[in-house]
């Protein structure tokens, strides 16, 4: 067995690459192809797809023009799903915005500390990664719900008379998502800020730039690669998020992720779920490509 690899660079390389490559091929690329196939099939009565397979474009048409049978014939709403997609994008932008807004100063602060203290802070940012995401979201729920920590404290202090509605609405979903994805924003921005040569800020000040202008003209452009990495790392998963909108939104906030999730669950419409997943993927991909095309050469190279 080992003789097969001995003295043959090509075989050694093949041997080293194949486990990872096979994994990706089997569990990422192949399922994507299966999904593509399902998205063009008709739904089965109890989930899965109808057999024998009937090929159709109906699932894609459905997304761009949702039609429901009514007494007076089919009732169509072209913006039903597009609207949900749109609000998912909007929520994702808001979440990304707040993650970057809160993450940048934190990343800056961490990067400017002495090594030991810096590592400690880094650990504090990373530790949440090691806690189950679901557990964290449920924990947040106990803080923000009607009888939760915040409301209890505010009520006992007499600051409010009725509980604030912080959950089962978009606010709750956004808070939950910002909470969950903040580390994804901090880490790439930290890397960028840490590499930033602070003497450039002195140079800017020396040339008459007040701190705010030095930041906008020198520091931000130079740390842009980190900001963009943060944007992509937060925006892409948040657009398709389903656990947080499900728990924090309590079924009242529809996002594309919860919609897809339902197609594979209670709605038992795998073909439509697959079609939506692929549409989401393509649209996000197009968005990211467009963003990189329009952003500067330097940023693209840094990615």
């Amino acid at each position: 067995m080992l003789n097969f690899f001995r003295g043959n660079k090509k075989r050694q390389l093949f041997g080293l690459i194949s486990p990872g490559a096979l994994w990706i091929l089997l569990f990422f690329n192949l399922p994507l192809l299966i999904m593509l196939f399902i998205s063009f099939a008709e739904r089965g009565r109890t989930g899965g797809i109808a057999s024998p397979v009937v090929y159709t474009l109906e699932n894609y048409k459905q997304f761009f023009n949702a039609c429901v049978s009514q007494y007076a014939g089919p009732q169509c709403d072209p913006f039903l799903y597009l609207g949900i997609f749109g609000s998912s994008v909007r929520i994702a932008f808001v979440v990304t915005f707040f993650c970057i807004l809160a993450g940048y100063p934190l990343a800056y602060f961490m990067a400017r500390q002495k090594p030991l203290w810096r590592d400690t802070l880094m650990l504090l940012v990373i530790i949440p990664f090691w806690t189950n995401f679901l557990v964290r979201t449920y924990a947040l729920k106990t803080v923000m719900s009607g009888e939760g920590l915040i409301n209890t404290i505010l009520m006992n202090l007499g600051l409010i008379s009725a509980p604030l509605e912080m959950m089962f609405n978009e606010f709750g979903v956004i808070v939950g998502l910002v909470y969950g994805y903040l580390p994804f924003a901090v880490l790439p921005m930290y890397t960028s800020v840490e590499k930033f040569d602070h003497s450039l800020m002195e140079a800017a000040a020396d040339l008459g730039a007040p701190p705010s202008r030095a930041f906008w003209r020198v520091m931000l452009p130079m740390t842009m690669p980190g900001v963009i990495a943060a944007l992509v790392l937060v925006f892409v998963p948040v657009v398709g998020a389903f656990i947080t909108p499900d728990i924090m939104g309590g079924g009242k906030v529809e996002m594309i992720g919860t919609l897809i999730n339902r197609q594979f669950g209670v709605a038992r419409n795998w073909p439509f779920g697959s079609a939506m997943s692929l549409i989401l993927m393509v649209l996000v991909l197009l968005g990211v490509i467009y963003y990189f095309r329009s952003s500067s050469e330097e940023t693209r190279r840094a990615m």
Partner: protein, 366 residues
């Protein structure tokens, strides 16, 4: 204008807290006056406080106490962006995301100078540092020497009251450094702006400066013309740091007028001119430069000490001889190789006479 200096440091103290919690005086009660249009160097070993002094003038550090006046105005607590000075940084600190033109124009842009005027002045600045046509380059595409010139142009284009240079030639190779030294000096004379130049290279300081401040351990030990610093060093550190020198320890035997007689135990007597008065028995150190010593050319009215050659080092233009007088006393003598004969004054192991006039050395006391 009488009484107005380009820069005046009055009793400036800057303390840093060390990681161990101690207090380190980086700049220790320094007084300095820098005149208008002067090429002034802060010279000293690393950690002597020269860069900290420069950074306090620029506004990157604030002094713990004392005051810094720029053109007669108290500025020690004014933030950097409001000071009428510009800096050329050691590593240039050019903005890598901007073109050469944007880099040089940055200061003007901050002042609100219009686009057309800016372009014109940037072009002039590029002309001045002899890099015309580079405006649209990225700074990364430039060589070290070119980046250096861009950094200079970026500072000078703002016509600062004072230009601060923090070891700007340190990153260049020797030949380019020598070229840039002369170029900087010429440029300074042309633009007439006060330059404050930080360096640890004594030769560089001597070549370029109108005046030099020698610093060590946060203190300004001596401020003066290059000749003064070289010929009449104030103390042992300055004598040792500037150029090569010899030290001969002894004690005062007596003094008649300006001539001091010194006993050098084990190698005889020496007579040295000095304007100061000494007491009998006072320990003193004679310091004398290697090129002021002569081999086997006894002076009638000078000092002639007997010794033995320990080493002969040929260094092209000169030959350096190490001569030992006694266990405690050893000197280096430098002889020019002007003629073939001079190359062979002495060999290793030869008995020689080392001579110097009474006016050549300086007397240092602790």
């Amino acid at each position: 204008m009488a009484g107005e200096f380009a820069i005046e440091m009055k009793d400036v103290l800057k303390q840093f807290v060390t990681p161990e919690g101690g207090i380190l005086p980086a700049v220790d009660h320094v007084d300095m006056q820098i005149q208008d249009g002067e090429f002034f160097s802060l010279l000293g070993p690393s950690g002597c406080g020269k860069t900290t002094s420069l950074r306090m003038i620029a506004g990157f550090e604030l002094p713990t106490s004392g005051s810094i006046l720029i053109r007669g105005k108290e500025m020690s607590q004014v933030p950097a962006h409001l000071r009428p000075v510009n800096t050329v940084f050691q590593q240039y600190a050019l903005f890598p995301h901007m073109t050469v033109e944007q880099n040089i124009g940055f200061g003007l842009e901050m002042k609100g100078v219009g686009k057309a005027e800016r372009a014109k002045r940037v072009a002039e600045a590029l002309e001045m540092v002899r890099l015309p046509g580079m405006a649209l380059r990225r700074t990364k595409q430039l060589s070290g020497g070119q980046q250096q010139r861009i950094a200079l142009a970026r500072a000078l284009v703002n016509k600062p009251e004072v230009l601060l240079l923090d070891e700007p030639l340190g990153a260049l190779d020797l030949k380019l450094r020598k070229e840039m030294q002369l170029e900087l000096k010429t440029l300074q004379r042309e633009v007439g702006i006060t330059f404050i130049y930080v360096t640890h290279d004594q030769e560089e300081a001597l070549t370029m400066s109108d005046r030099i401040a020698v610093m060590n351990k946060g203190r300004a030990l001596q401020v003066g013309l290059p000749e003064e610093i070289y010929e009449r060093p104030a103390d042992k550190f300055v004598a040792d740091f500037i150029g090569e020198t010899n030290f001969l320890d002894g004690s005062v035997l007596g003094q008649s007028g300006s001539t001091v007689e010194i006993d050098l135990p084990g190698c005889g007597l020496a007579r040295v001119e000095s304007s100061r008065t000494f007491t009998r028995g006072q320990p003193v150190t004679i310091t004398v430069r290697p090129e002021r010593l002569h081999l086997n050319e006894p002076f009638e009215n000078g000092n002639n000490l007997k010794g033995r050659v320990e080493e002969v080092i040929y260094i092209g233009t000169d030959t350096q001889y190490g001569v030992r007088f006694s266990e405690r006393h050893k000197v280096r003598v430098r002889e020019q190789n002007a003629t073939q004969a001079q190359k062979e004054i002495a060999r290793r192991g030869d008995e020689v006479i080392v001579s110097f006039t009474s006016a050549s050395p300086r007397l240092l006391t602790e």
